[in-house]
Amino acid sequence: MLELIHFNILSVLLFSVGLYGVLARKSAILIIMAIELMLNAVNINFIAAAAFKHGGGLFTNFDGHILTIFIITIAAAEVGLALALILRIFRNKSTVNVDQFDMMKL
């Protein structure tokens, strides 16, 4: 039988994979993908909490569902914007490797 805790563990794992991706990846596009994973972990957490605890305590509204829909929408906008900015820097520097974004120093 699936419990809330199983979904929470899935979400923690997904968040950790995303966190690792942000810290370890070199390509800006893959970093943005990793951030998307983190946001999806957030969505799983919200939906699972809203579905399992529905009706108890303050969980009477559909806050969790609404939050998830908003986060999906905002994440889509975020990716659009990030890809546009990555395209800009690719035109100017011909690379998306974040290690080479080192123009600004002391």
Binding site: L4, N8, S11, F15, G18, V22, A28, I31, I32, I35, M38, L39, A41, V42, N45, F46, A48, A49, K53, G56, G57, L58, F59, N61, D63, G64, I66, L67, F70, I71, I74, A77, E78, L81, A82, L85, I86, R88, I89, N92, K93, V98, F101, M103, M104, L106
Partner: protein, 489 residues
């Protein structure tokens, strides 16, 4: 539905602002190339009108809207007025820069307006989803504005760094929110505070969630150890946008943090008594590291970026005494933010005027400025002296108010460290002033081609006058700010 809590007339300023932003985007389509400064002027006139609209519709009203999702009160009123004024000044000081340096000029002004809309909703939100959405509205505009100088690789790079750090911190904030939600079942500040303040409540998931939320906000505000994006983004952004980040976005993030602390943490006394120590440690490290690293900087924008990190630390040390004083600290924080904004505009507007048609960025390139452009260098010097906290200028009075309310709250040692940190800041501000007034320039007449038009003169002269006037006679402003301290009583 709660009767009377859906009075949409209270949101008139936001509706007008959104309409104005769309009007500005439309005007950009109609106004021909080469006359795009009129787009900015429409925005300025609209914002000045909006000041009156805001004052006439929401002044002195305390009422929740949309079932407690938003709270229209004096605190949000004061901050709305600050944001609109910051917007007006930013647009005026950008005009010449935008004209000479940027492509697709009209949309710049529309994005500045949308960012103000985000800030306005952010300060009055009483619920994390609303706060998150308005924070993202603000951040998205800033991501675009930072990368607005399309053909400048530095600006591109700053925008990439900003969006990666910004979305990363939003993801952390949201994960914390999802943990808090799975315990509490609501995202309203008041509901969360109610659950947290149950005596003996020590749910580790909720505690970790609150920590994640605070980390997310600390990223936005640039608190050490989450400050690493600030110098790069400030350096790469077009300089009026740097000013907007350092003044508008910083005030907004701070107002949000104060709202969250007042709404969520203060009612839970056990939680707050341990978080106070964390805030104090963060404040000290921010002040020490920000001001310490600023000493070795050779570029003006990076020096100002680290100095703004130092100022975040001072502001954070004001938050530590929330709950220990009867509201006076909120008043002095409001005064500090206004004084900081005015002073920073004196510095940033003059630096914008100096740098927009030549690419100087090192501190030593400012040598000889005082002989060729005395008023510009006087503006920078007055601003820097004021930021360091010398008497006569507003920088002294704001620090005096803030540090005395911190010591009233029982944190004399914290105020002492803040005083020492501003002493250190005087050193690197003096390096800049020495460069302008004492050093001999490498080439003669290096700054000869600086032309300053009237919108910039208005900004420069107004900021100098306000820097001095608010320092000598702060009463009218402080009386206005007095009422926001009710939030803490």
């Amino acid at each position: 539905m709660i009767e009377g809590s859906n009075n949409l007339l209270l949101l008139t300023p936001e509706f007008v602002l959104a309409g104005l932003a769309l009007l500005v985007f439309t005007a950009d389509l109609i106004i021909p190339e080469g006359k795009k400064e009129w787009v900015g002027r429409i925005a300025v006139v609209g914002l000045i009108g909006l000041l009156f609209v805001t004052a006439s519709t929401v002044m002195g009203i305390t009422q929740p809207v949309y079932n407690n999702f938003l709270l229209v009160d004096h605190y949000s009123f004061v901050f709305k007025m600050i944001f609109i004024t910051v917007g007006i000044i930013t647009i005026l000081m950008s005009e010449e820069f935008v004209k000479t340096n940027l492509t697709s000029q009209g949309e710049y002004y529309g994005l500045v307006l949308l960012a103000i809309l985000g800030m306005n909703i952010l300060v009055q939100s009483q619920e994390f989803l609303t706060a998150y959405i308005s924070l993202e509205l603000l951040s998205f505009c800033l991501y675009v504005l930072v990368g607005y100088s399309k053909f400048n690789p530095k600006s591109n790079e700053a925008a990439i760094k900003y969006i990666i750090f910004g979305t990363f911190s939003s993801a952390i904030l949201l994960y914390g929110l999802s943990m808090v939600y799975s315990v509490v079942g609501s995202t309203l500040y008041s509901d969360i505070a109610q659950v947290l303040s149950t005596s003996g409540f020590m749910d580790p998931v909720a505690m970790l969630g609150i920590t994640f939320i605070m980390i997310g906000i600390a990223f936005k505000l640039g608190i050490v150890p989450f400050h690493s994006w600030i110098p790069d983004v400030y350096e790469g952004a077009p300089i009026p946008v740097t000013a907007y980040l350092a003044i508008g976005a910083k005030i907004a993030a701070f107002a949000f943090l104060a709202r969250v602390v007042i709404g969520v943490m203060l009612p839970a006394e056990e939680l707050w008594s341990s978080w106070k120590i964390i805030f104090a440690i963060l404040a000290i490290s921010t002040m020490v590291i920000g001001n310490g690293i600023a000493i070795v900087q050779t570029k003006v924008k990076r020096m100002l970026a680290y100095s703004s990190i130092g100022h975040s630390g001072v502001l954070l040390s004001g938050i530590v005494v929330f709950g220990s004083t009867n509201g006076i600290v909120l008043e002095s924080l409001g005064y500090y933010l206004v004084g900081y904004a005015v002073t920073s505009f004196a510095v940033f507007s003059a630096i914008t005027a100096v740098t927009y048609n030549n690419n100087i960025e090192l501190i030593k390139d400012f040598a000889g400025l005082s002989d060729e452009k005395p008023l510009l260098s006087a503006s920078i010097a007055i601003g820097l002296f004021s930021l360091a906290g010398l008497p006569l200028f507003v920088g002294f009075t704001i620090k005096f108010y803030l540090f005395s309310s911190i010591s009233i709250g029982g944190y004399l040692w914290l105020a002492g460290i803040a005083v020492l940190a501003s002493l250190v800041s005087l050193y690197y501000y003096l390096i800049m002033i020495k460069s302008m007034y004492v050093d001999v320039p490498e080439q003669e007449r290096a700054h000869a081609d600086i032309t300053v038009r009237w919108p910039m003169w208005i900004v420069i002269i107004l900021s100098i006058l306000m820097t001095i006037a608010l320092g000598i006679y702060p009463d009218p402003l402080v009386n206005q700010l007095n009422e926001i301290s009710d939030l803490l009583k």
